[in-house]
Point group: C2
Amino acid sequence: MDIAFLLYDNMTSLDFIGPYQVLGLLPKVRLHLAAVEAGPIRTDLGVKLHADKRLEEVTRADIVVVPGSPDPSKTMADPRVQAWLRALDATSTWTTSVCTGSLILGAAGLLQGKRATTHWIAMDALRTFGATPVAERVVFDGKTVSAAGVSAGIDMALALAGKAVGPMVAQCIQLGIEYDPEPPYNAGSLKVAPPEVIEASRAMLSSVMPG
Amino acid sequence: MDIAFLLYDNMTSLDFIGPYQVLGLLPKVRLHLAAVEAGPIRTDLGVKLHADKRLEEVTRADIVVVPGSPDPSKTMADPRVQAWLRALDATSTWTTSVCTGSLILGAAGLLQGKRATTHWIAMDALRTFGATPVAERVVFDGKTVSAAGVSAGIDMALALAGKAVGPMVAQCIQLGIEYDPEPPYNAGSLKVAPPEVIEASRAMLSSVMPG
């Protein structure tokens, strides 16, 4: 199985590494880390990840994963990224996004008429691309799969693993990464976070998030 | 606040990126990615991360984070790593590990007489270093903090964020990374996974894990 990850400057590292650490444990998998230019990619908090391949070197994949960014606008507007995503989507089994990665799929025209999710701060922006925003953690619409903000990519990847190779392997991966979450607070979504946390987060994020 | 992460060859990327994505959002934080040699570090599934600094360049930190690896034995045995961890621990506020990172702390002599955790497959190995294994997701013993396997570093980092700067900021970070987990299976720990999943995982992991 071939899995392609889009890497780009200012992306959020956990959006990528979450699904990578899950899907990378699938049997007989080939992982392709593709960017407009191969080489070091600076993520939003600074750590540099290495893209192995230029986009042109990855011409098909069973699963495509597009991570998000506090500001994905430059990547959304890049015609090389748009063309690459459209080309891969034409033959992929699953085309997926984490966080504001869905806005990049949307900008490539791949969310037209679809249900999708993204980071809560960017939810309304999905409408721009003809998508119906859904406030769920992981949203499947046919072959298009989107996850909510940042950490939701782990849940999405486990669900995908189950669909791709069955629940036995997916559960082994879950136990392998010991994913039995115990968040110390109950503040991880708009549904459960205290109002003052939502207000403070919104103020903080509005200065960095697009649209 | 200064936070130092130990990077090394064959480390597990999510062990590092989980806490990095949480602690990196603390206010006024300086993140130090340190390795024996600065430059690209190849993680267990292949993606290369970039270490900014040599160990000698980081002489103190408020929080030290040691990620794990399917086989941390080389790093455990490295006297430069051991000396660096002992030196930083002497003045740190928190010395922490994720997954088998605790075995690296143990090899440096930093778990003697302490309660600690690690990946479930490596739990018994903690005794070698004079530690008492505790099958909990995050274990605090004084300034020494350890997390269970891989994904547990996210929970640990949120708990640390709360202790370091208070629950308001920690909850904002949790909402920022939308950490409201919904694993598609209930298989993430020995306590909850079906027996056949545990058996299959143990067989798979025993071939790669130390001890």
